[in-house]
Every structure is written in C-alpha cells, then in structure tokens.
C-alpha cells in the first residue's frame, strides 16, 4: 500500500494512536474485573465460602391448592388430598439399590412403584429429590418414622394430590391432571408460561381440567429457607403463601350423569344432555369409563396399555370423538328440510311397498319394514320412521340442498364445546366427495344419505346439539360444561359467558308440524311408544338405527345371527317437555340393536330425573302400561 499525501499520513498516525488508546483501555478495564475477582475469590473467600457451604438461603416453592371443581349443585367432583410421600435424595444415598431394598421391608413397594421410580430416576437431574411411593397408609408412616434413622437421604413429606371422589363418573368431561411432562414443559416455554409453573407439579391434561387450567392452577408461594450444605431445609425464615386456584362450577348435574351412566348397565355408548335455553351440558356420558385417579401420580405403563388397547376403548370420549351414521335420527331434520325447501308438502303421500327403486334401475333400497308401510305422509313418515319416504325425498331434494339445510343444524361442524378433541362428523356433498375420493357423486349416494347412512356421520354431541336447536326453535347456544368461576381470593363469581352460537329462522308452522310428528314417535303407534309410555309430560323424540355392516341385496338382518360387535348401533334423540323443552338429548348404545328398545329407555330415565326429579331407584314408580300395538315398531 502506498501512502502518498501528507493528509493520509497524518490520518494514519492518528488512527494508530487511537488504536493504542483503545488497546490500553481494554487492558485496564479487564484488569479492573480481575481486581474485583481477586477481592472476591481471595480476600473475601472465607466469607463466601461459609455462605456457600454451611448456610444458604434458598427459595422453596410451595404448591398451591388447585381449584375445586363442582357440579351445578355444588357437589365436589375434583378436590385435593394431602398425601404422605416417601422421597429419596439420590445424591445422599450411597447405595440406591440397597436402600430401596431395605425400604421395601418397611413399606409396601409394588412393581408399579418400582417402575415409576426408575422412570423418574432417569428423567431427573442428580440433585432432585424423587418420590418413591405416594399414598402411604398411616401404618406405613408410623413404621417408617420409627426406623427413620436407618435411612439417610430418605424423607417423609406430604404432597397435595388431585383426587376425583366420584371415580369414573363423568371422567371424560372432567379429564384429569398429570405430572408435567417434558412435552408439556416445552409447550409452556413456547407460550412463555413456564414461570407460572415453578413449584407446581401437575397440569390439566384433558377435559375441563385442561380447558380451565389457567383458572384452576393458582399460584405457587415461596418459603425462604435456610439450608445445609446438601441443600436440605433447616429453618424457615419467611413465607409467602401460595394462592389457591379458583373454583370451577360446571353446568353438569352429577346425579343426572350418574343415573345416565348406570342406565347403560355395562353397555358401550354415549349420551349428551343439553339445556336448550342456555347450552348448559347437563350430562356427558361415555361408557365404558375410566378412573382419572389413576393418572394423577403418573399412570403406570401396564395400566395405560390395558386401557389404551382395550377393545371397549374406555379412554375414547365417545360423545365427541365417536362419529357414527346418524341413521333415522336424521329424519326429523330431513322432514323440516322438505317443508322449508318446498320439496314436499305435508299432505303429499307416497306408497311404501317395502323398498325404493331409482327410476330405471333394478337395485332395491329396502325399508326396514319388509312388508312396507303402505300410504305414508310426512307426519307418519317420522312416526313410523319410513325409510322409503326419505329415499325418495332425498333424491327429489338433491344432495346440495340437503347438505345446506343440515348445516343449519350444525351437521359436519364441531359444536364448539369447551373441551378438546371434538370431531367434525361428516355432512357430505358433491364437492366433498370429489376432494376426498376424486369421484363423482352418484344418485345412489343421495338415497343412502336420506336415511342418515352412507357417508353421513355425526357424533352424539352433534345430534344432541341439533336436537337442542330444534327444541329452542332455531336459536343455538354454544354448548358448554363450565358455568362459572369463583375467585379464590375475592369470592367474586365470574359467569362463563353464554355464547349465542347462531340463529336460524324456520317457518313456525313447518317447525310445529315436525315437532308434533316427533311427539308422535313417543306415543302409541310410534317407534318409541314403549319408552314414552306413562310419561306425565310430552316427549318429542326420534329413534335411529345405524348399520355397522352392510347387508347384501336380498339378505335379511337377523340380530341373533350377527356377532355382537357387528350389531346395529341404537340411537335416540329427544327433547321434553315438547312445548317448553327443559332438556334435549342424544343417546347412543353401541351395538345395542334398536333405538326404541335400547336407547330410548336410557333417555327416558334422564328426562324423568331432570323434569320430575324422579330417580330410577324409586321402584314404586308405576310400571309402564302395556302398549296396545302388539307388534312393537322397532326402528
């Protein structure tokens, strides 16, 4: 490089001198740091050494009381229990194997406890204390306390555990809490919420425990504790109390829920009961159920496997996740569609010979009643559940109109209930089939859809919601389990806002006509006459049967010949009292056979309790009078 001008030379010498100043500056600055380090680490070493080695002050978080969950009447569904827990400080234990072996002589250690402890040992950091066994009995506590001197590094502590006093009742609605997993932790960190969980060990994993986590959680407190060299508390200096979580009151009526669950009597299925005027979910039943208490301390791998792999799928939230063909329960909505779209007038009568054929085709779409219903108008088509009427109606209406109208009852869309995991169901049309199967829509598809078979799928939640919308004359309130939150500090009650989901307009006359037909279903001559018999209030209902396996042309379905798990699903939807509905519901009994005989009686028990306050145990209730139609209709 060449420096030519005087100016450049002077610029360079100025620059070099500036660099030297900077160099001197950083050496001085770092020397100051070193000086400070020298003071800290040599002159004041003894002082800090003492602080670090003998007595330290550490912050010990204290667990908050998680908020209680009650049903709408204040009955406690989830609470907290103080539980004796045996904890091990692995760092202080010379031989972990030996210690655990010796402990097993004092307290009862099951294989489950051992497996769980091994898992925690692997996941933990070396200075953590680990729970070896929780839920110690009083006897075990006494025995351990007497021999405590033998076990260095083993401590007896109390921890708060979530407890569900009702066991497996309403488990799918409540959900459960579990230990915060590494995955939960990552999710919390991503939302910058991890700090709120210092000192908290459990997190809502499912159901309302998950949805209302932020309210239920509370805030951890801190104790300022003097600790010894091993980090163990010696003396508490000060304490900031934890803030308990808020109390959550559900819309659920646990007695109604229990009556419903018992009514299933061991059969698989689901039921949802809604208060039409508010969207309150009064019962959310999924059978079989599970005991959420098994999850609170980390579920044992074997039990998890058993629950998860069971053919009865107890962990599946059937009302939300079970998508079934709605079968004949779709008929009242189709009937209303016929009137509202002007496809068929109420007086239009068709002749049902027991089957339907598309013009120019030989294939017979059979009515469930082989010999046919004869002359059928709209009213009677709902009451006797005539398939032939609806095959023709669907074809006349066309799939697009049908799809659009059913959307107004929320078919094919989630209801928006306040717990996770809801499925969409399926309200098919041409565009859907093209996208899904790259195939065009055939008229035959429309025929099956007309009776809620074929591609149509709905969850029990959706059907209960649709029944509620029908009951409430087109005004839909978003279904919700949470009703209000009571602040633990101020006692202030925060109502969980009623959310008007949407409003859909129907012609009053048309609506009344269909509702009247639904009332007919539960009266003599209707498919649910037996279940409706003797009720001192009117029930608007509709039975349904959903095929599990297809029948060959000309083959007859005979229940006795079909494997139990291939039997039809039984449906019943209803609302009552018909003129001023207090409850709307959907009941599904998996492989239950007929809606009228399997599902409707369960619905009746729920309605009887909700409307009359009558429990099924009241055995002196008048028996249902014999019905006059000998051949009880059975769809």
């Amino acid at each position: 490089m060449k420096l030519t001008t005087r100016q450049e030379i002077s610029q360079n010498s100025q620059y070099q001198s500036r660099l030297q100043v900077a160099g001197a500056f950083i050496v001085v600055a770092f020397s100051l740091l070193l000086l400070r380090l020298l003071v800290l680490q040599t002159v004041q070493f003894d002082y800090y050494h003492t602080l670090a080695e003998s007595n330290r002050i550490s912050l010990v978080p204290s667990q908050p009381n998680r908020g209680l969950i009650t049903d709408r009447n204040g009955i406690v569904l989830a609470e907290n229990r103080a539980v004796y827990t045996l904890e091990i400080y692995p760092k202080e234990v010379t031989n972990l194997q030996e210690t655990v072996k010796a402990l097993a002589e004092v307290i009862k250690l099951t294989d489950v406890d051992r497996r769980r402890f091994d898992k925690r040992l692997k996941e933990s950091r070396k200075f953590d204390s680990l729970a070896l066994k929780s839920f110690l009995s009083d006897e075990e506590v006494a025995r351990f306390s007497a021999q405590k001197f033998r076990f260095k590094g083993v401590e007896l502590t109390t921890r708060l555990f979530r407890s569900y006093p009702m066991g497996n009742v309403a488990a799918h609605a409540l959900g459960y809490v579990g230990r915060i997993s590494p995955r939960d932790k990552a999710a919390l960190e991503a939302r910058s919420e991890a700090e709120a969980y210092a000192g908290i060990e459990a997190i809502g994993k499912d159901g309302v425990e998950k949805t209302y986590e932020a309210d239920l959680r509370g805030a951890a407190g801190y104790a300022q504790v003097e600790t010894d060299a091993a980090g163990r508390g010696v003396r508490t200096i000060s304490r900031k109390a934890s803030t308990p979580g808020n109390r959550l009151r559900l819309a659920l009526d646990i007695r109604l829920q229990k009556i419903g669950e018992e009514a299933f009597a061991g059969r698989r299925g689901a039921a949802v009961a809604i208060e039409p005027a508010t969207g309150d979910i009064l019962a959310l039943i999924s059978q079989p159920s599970f005991d959420p208490n098994a999850f609170v301390d980390g579920i044992d791998a074997n039990l998890w496997k058993e629950l998860n792999e069971s053919l009865d799928r107890p962990l599946t939230n059937r009302p939300l996740r079970g998508a079934y063909p709605p079968g004949s329960t779709i008929k009242p909505f189709m009937a209303l569609a016929a009137l509202e779209t002007g496809t068929r007038s109420p007086e239009r009568t068709i002749f049902d010979p027991g089957f339907y054929t598309l013009p120019g085709q030989g294939h017979q779409y059979r009515c469930w009643k082989t010999e046919g219903h004869g002359a059928v108008d709209l009213q009677r088509s709902v009451i006797v559940s005539c398939d032939t009427y609806y095959y023709g109606l669907a074809v006349e209406m066309g799939i697009e109109k049908m799809h659009d109208f059913l959307s107004r009852f929320n078919f094919g869309k989630p209801s928006g209930i306040d717990i996770d995991g809801e499925r969409n169901g399926l309200n098919p049309n041409e565009a859907w089939k093209r996208a899904r199967f790259k195939d065009k829509w055939y008229t035959g598809d429309t025929v099956s859809a007309g009776i809620g078979q074929g591609y149509v799928l709905a969850t029990p939640m959706q059907l209960a919601y649709a029944a509620a919308v029908m009951a409430n004359r087109g005004v839909a309130w978003k279904p919700h389990l949470g009703k209000e939150v009571v602040d633990s500090q101020t006692g202030k009650v925060r109502r969980i806002e009623l959310q008007p989901a949407y409003k859909t307009q129907f012609n009053d006359e048309n609506l009344e006509r269909v509702r009247a037909a639904m009332v007919g279903v539960t009266q003599p001559g209707g498919t649910a006459a037996q279940a409706g018999a003797g009720a001192p209030y009117t029930i608007a209902g509709k039975t349904g049967t959903a095929q599990v396996i297809g029948m060959k042309q000309g083959q007859k379905y005979r229940e006795s010949e079909v494997d139990e798990r291939h039997r039809d699903h039984a449906w019943f939807i209803a609302f009552a009292p018909a003129d001023d509905p207090k409850i709307a519901l959907a009941v599904l009994v998996e492989n239950g056979g007929h809606g009228g005989s399997a599902a409707a009686p369960i619905a009746r028990k729920l309605m009887d309790y909700w409307i009359l306050g009558k429990t099924p145990d009241a055995a002196n209730a008048p028996a249902a009078p014999p019905t006059n139609d000998a051949a009880a209709p059975h769809d």
């Binding site: 950083i26 680490q41 050494h49």
Partner: protein, 368 residues
Amino acid sequence: MTKLLRKVLAFLLEPFDLYLLALLGALAFVGLLTLYSASDGSWTRWSGQVINFAAALVCMWLVAHVTPNRLASLALPLYLLGVLLLVGVALNGEVVNGARRWLHVGVTRIQPSELVKLATPMMIAWYLQRYQDDLRPLHFAAAAVLVALPLGLVLRQPDLGTAMLIGAAGFYTIFLAGLRYRVITALMVMGVASLPVLWSLMHDYQRKRILTLIDPTEDPLGAGYHTIQAIIAVGSGGVFGKGWTHGTQSHLDFLPERDTDFIFAVFAEEFGMVGAVIMIGLFIAIVLRGLRIASNASGLFPRLMAGSLALSFFTYAFVNIGMVIGVLPVVGVPLPLISYGGTSLVTMGLGFGILMSIHRHRGMMSAT
C-alpha cells in the same frame, strides 16, 4: 493421500488468521466444558451448542471470503433492512417476557436487533469512508444520527443490553475515525448531566436493576437474587475452584440462568481465580489480535470495521462478567462463545468472519 489431506486442510484454513482462530478455538473449548457442567450434563443442550458452533464456523468461513469492498457495498442495504425490520417489530412484533423483540417472517421469527448489531458499525464505517478526504464535524454528527436511529428503536422494545451494544459499536467506529477528544469530553459531561432525564425515561425494572446494583441486599428475593447468588458462587470458588461439575451453588439450583447469562459464575465457581485469569486472558488476547488486524488494515472502511468489531467483542465480555460479579447492572448480554444460544453465536461468527476477511485482504488497495 496426505497430499490430498493437506490440500483440503489448506482450502479450509486458507481464509483464516490462524492466530485468531486458535484463540477462538481455545475459548470455545472452555465454553463447551463450562456449558456441560452448567446444564447439569444435559446432552441435548450440549450437542445443541456444538451445532451452534458449527453454524457459526461456517458463517465465519463464508464471510471471510467476501472482500472488504464488497462488504462496504452491503453496508447501506443491510442497515436499511435492519432499521426497516426494527420498525416492523415496533409496529407488529411479538411480545415475549414483556418485551417486543421478535418479528414473524413466514414460518420463523427473527430478532432484527441482532442484524443491527453488525449493520450499524458497517454503515458508519461506509459513510465515513465516503467522505474520508474531508471529514468535518458535520459528518460526525450525521454518523451519530445513524447510530441513534436503530439504538432508539431497540431501546423502545425495550432491550437495554442490545441498545447499549449498538451504541458502543457506533461510538467505537466514530472514535477510531478521529472524533476529537474535546468533543468526546464535552459529550461525556453532557451525558452525565442528562442522567436524571434518562432515569425518568427508564422502565421500572431497569431502575430496579440499577438500584439493586448499588445495594443488592435490598431486594434479596427479587431483582437482587441473581446478583447475590452469582457473587456467592464466584467468591466461594476461591483460587483453584471447586472442580469441574462440583460447583454447589450452580448445581443446587441457586444460580438462575446458569447456562446462559450467568454462566461465568459457574465457571468462576468451578475453576476459581486461576480459571478466571485464563479466560479473561483469552478475551484480552482475542481483542488485542483484533486490534492488530485493524492496525494492519488498509482503507478506512476495513480499519474502522475491524477496530469496532474487536472493541465490541470486548464490550460483550466486559459487560457480561461485570454484571455477574456485581459491578455492572444486570442487562441481558450473553458471554461470547461461552453462553448457550445460537443467535449470538452466529452473530459472533459473522463478526469474526469480517475480521478474518479484513486480515486476508489487508494488502489490497481500498476503493476510494
């Protein structure tokens, strides 16, 4: 075979100043050693940092190939992009822990203040080079405005630590360009005089940090907790330290943020005064080597850029260690090459890449 190996090695090492590379390597080794202990032997954390180092090394290697002239021509666009992104953050940024620092761009989110850390001194150096034949006070004033713009935007986020680093980088550039000592002194006096105004503009948490610096025991569980626990860790390390992975303060959960901002406390506790002298010695050697590269550079842009980068590196280390041992307020500045974190390491890699490039192209005439 050995010939091929030698060729490959030569290809890989060719753009680097081997002296600087060796120093950085030594510091990185110390860093990984400390991180292993600070993260309680967490393999994921440790291997993550190794990947961060690899990414930084690749960045450094690539940037080292770019000529200073090309770098100078990138100054304006990078600076404008940085300021634009900062405005984007102010208008539409994501709030994390009460500060608006992140901006969503498509699938990922970025922290534009990192870009500005390098773009600001580049911009100043480029601007001053343009007028190098006739530098007047007005040009220095304009340069100050160029620093103030991104600095103000970052301060608003608020991110005191990064704002300070941007301000320092800008100041170093202007200082090396020859701003008169008289002006510097006058500015300092004015700065001291304006402290009360600055105080009134600060956020509560920032004031608290400064107050607890003066007396950390005033708030032992809140803002002073970090500092107290860090000082106990450092002091109890003594001359030879407690030994690698044997720090009690660090491992009994007394030290917060022990693998990021407060990692020096872990190091000083476990390796003691001897370790601290070695580490600070490495920092000094790296900065002095950077200044040597600056001294040998030709052309105003490379000179200012190299000097500013070396001094910025010093500032990072000084501010972080000063904060851990309680002589500076707690601001979120990581310890370069030691703290866990990919963003700061990549920025470091880019910065040292520029230094390497300036060293490599030191004989070339600069464009005027």
